[in-house]
């Protein structure tokens, strides 16, 4: 359309799509890691196989009763089996009575 000053004026619409999820709060945190079971999730990349043992060792030193369920129990969270592994994850976390998860590696 033509504006009052003779310029062509465009009324334009939004190019994006509606969000399908609403922002949610994350789960409540633990009071301590003592006596808790921590699951490890790994995407098979960027030295997670070296990093998780360091984390285990350091966390065990500070919280002697913490226990771990290792990443190979769950399978890789990225790649060929990704969709299956993620679909099975809630059940597996319940099966191993996991209280919290450490997931990597974003790199």
């Amino acid at each position: 359309m033509i504006g009052p000053d003779g310029r062509e004026v465009y009324r334009v619409v939004w190019p994006r799509g509606g969000k399908t999820v609403q922002a949610a709060d994350v789960a409540p945190r633990l009071s301590s890691l003592e006596g808790k079971v921590i699951g490890q999730l790994w995407d098979d990349l960027f030295r997670g196989d070296e990093i998780f043992p360091i984390l285990e060792e350091e966390l065990q030193r500070r919280f002697p009763t913490v226990r771990f369920v290792r990443y190979d129990t769950f399978g890789s969270t990225h790649g060929r089996d990704e969709q299956r592994v993620l679909a099975e994850l809630p059940g597996r976390l319940r099966q191993y009575e996991v209280d919290a998860v450490i997931s990597g590696m974003a790199c």
Binding site: R11, V12, P15, G17, V26, R29, L33, R80, A100, V101
Partner: protein
């Protein structure tokens, strides 16, 4: 359940924007300093012990601020801005809705003119796209098509492209990965001629309206609906400019009795799009010879040279998903066909020729890149059934092994200058942009509408 996500320094921004896109803006992350791949064992240990462990404990035990209220967003038909051409372009660029080139202002009238070219209503949902979890609809396909400079009659192709983008098999969520692969769109069917696509000389060059604007549409849609943005969700280290649409030369294919790419991928509809992400590629110039024996060694050598770390998609993450593409000029395809090769036979010959020593293969995915955990040998992977026995036919490290798992994993297309003996080899991005083909659905009145559009 409380979580701690391990994030290297360069990925904190992507982690934050991806978490927000997934609806968990408060998702805590634990920093891993620097990039782990360039650290010594001692440096890695020191960084994890000094920084990451404390962050993990905080992530799992300290209260996290509540998510807060979502910012209200416009409805599809809302007018978000009024202004002249320059003002609209500035507004879109400042809101990250444009690629930096001028856009055609998406007015409701222009959008409506695009919607006419689909029998499906604008609100029809085509899928939900990660990482922003936004709804892909016929409406926002039209909006982005207008912006890219497409013509309304391209709508059936644009819709099919977004259906392919939304297919989990393709894996759009990986479009911001660091190697910065770019999608190649391959078009098949009578639409190539009906809409004036270039399928001859300069087939991969910008300059022909349909090929160029639809290529631009692809990346605008990735930006605006999937949500891939520089410095945030798009982590391409270098990246590429979007590619123009590659239209196959179906006249040449018919003459030699070869199938199209879409048919090879199992879609026999008249018109179809195939998308696949390629990390790069290069021309194979001046192929000399008049028999497969004289021509194929050079073509195979060039395909092998384009593939390095991408071999992880043959044996590692997404094993068996490596799909290199050989693009032949018509005269090369015709020469091979004249010698009796159909596409399946050509792929089999290339499968046998595209080989490298086992020790070199293991170096690409092990010593040089650390992309396969534990750096297993090809023998071990074959023994575990991850890859076919062809990778472990002897113990000799000099034995030649293929770069893909099966002959049919190689893709062959025909386009470009009909009378030049050049080819092009593309290295593939495996499971992070797997070949996906979708039929193109035309509106019931397509022929009449196209006739009328041409007469205007």
């Amino acid at each position: 359940m409380p979580t701690a996500s391990l994030v290297c320094e360069g990925f904190r921004g992507q982690a934050a924007t991806t978490a927000a896109g997934l609806g968990l803006p408060g998702l805590p992350t634990a920093l891993v300093p620097g990039h782990v791949d360039v650290q010594t064992v001692d440096e890695l240990r020191q960084n994890v012990a000094a920084v990451t462990v404390d962050a993990v404990i905080k992530n799992l035990t300290e209260t996290i601020a509540r998510a807060g209220h979502a910012v209200a967003e416009p409805a599809p038909a809302d007018i978000v801005f009024e202004g002249d051409f320059d003002e609209v372009n500035r507004f879109f660029y400042e809101n990250d809705w444009s690629d930096g080139l001028p856009i055609v202002p998406p007015t409701p009238e222009r959008v409506a003119s695009f919607l006419r070219w689909s029998d499906r209503p604008g609100e029809t949902e085509l899928g939900v796209l990660l990482p922003d979890q936004r709804r892909a609809t016929v409406w926002n396909v039209a909006v982005n098509g207008v912006m890219a400079g497409c013509r309304p009659e391209y709508m059936p192709i644009l819709i099919a492209l977004v259906e392919a983008m939304a297919d989990p098999r393709y894996g759009v969520e990986h479009s911001g990965n660091t190697p910065g692969a770019e999608t190649l769109i391959i078009l098949n069917g009578p639409l190539i001629k009906e809409l004036g696509f270039n399928f001859e000389q300069g087939a991969l060059r910008d300059g022909v309206h349909a090929n160029t604007t639809i290529g631009r549409f692809w990346r605008l849609y990735l930006r605006n609906v999937a949500g891939f943005l520089h410095h945030r969700t798009d982590k391409g280290t270098f990246g590429n400019t979007w590619r123009v649409v590659l239209a196959e030369n179906e006249d040449a294919l018919r003459r030699i009795g070869w199938s199209t790419i879409a048919q090879d991928e199992g879609v026999s509809d008249a018109n179809a799009v195939t998308i696949s992400r390629f990390t790069g590629g290069g021309v194979i110039a001046s192929v000399f010879g008049n028999t497969p024996d004289s021509m194929l060694p050079y073509l195979a050598d060039s395909i092998v040279r384009k593939v390095g770390w991408e071999l992880m998609f043959t044996v590692g993450m997404g094993a068996g998903s490596q799909r290199p593409l050989l693009l032949l000029s018509p005269i090369l395809a015709e020469t091979l066909a004249k010698a009796g090769l159909d596409k399946a036979a050509l792929k089999q010959r290339l499968f046998e020729l595209c080989r490298i020593p086992a020790w070199q293969f293991e170096r690409y995915v092990g010593a040089w890149t650390n992309l396969v955990p534990g750096r297993p040998t090809l023998h071990a992977l074959a023994k575990d059934g991850v890859i076919p026995p062809v990778f472990a036919e002897s113990d000799d490290p000099e034995r030649l092994v293929p770069i893909v798992c099966r002959a049919e994993d190689l893709m062959v297309a025909v386009s470009g200058d009909p009378l030049r003996t050049n080819a092009y080899a593309f290295a593939h991005n495996g499971i992070l942009g797997f070949p996906t083909t979708k039929p193109i659905r035309l509106p019931a009145e397509w022929s009449r509408m196209l006739r009328e559009a041409r007469s205007q």
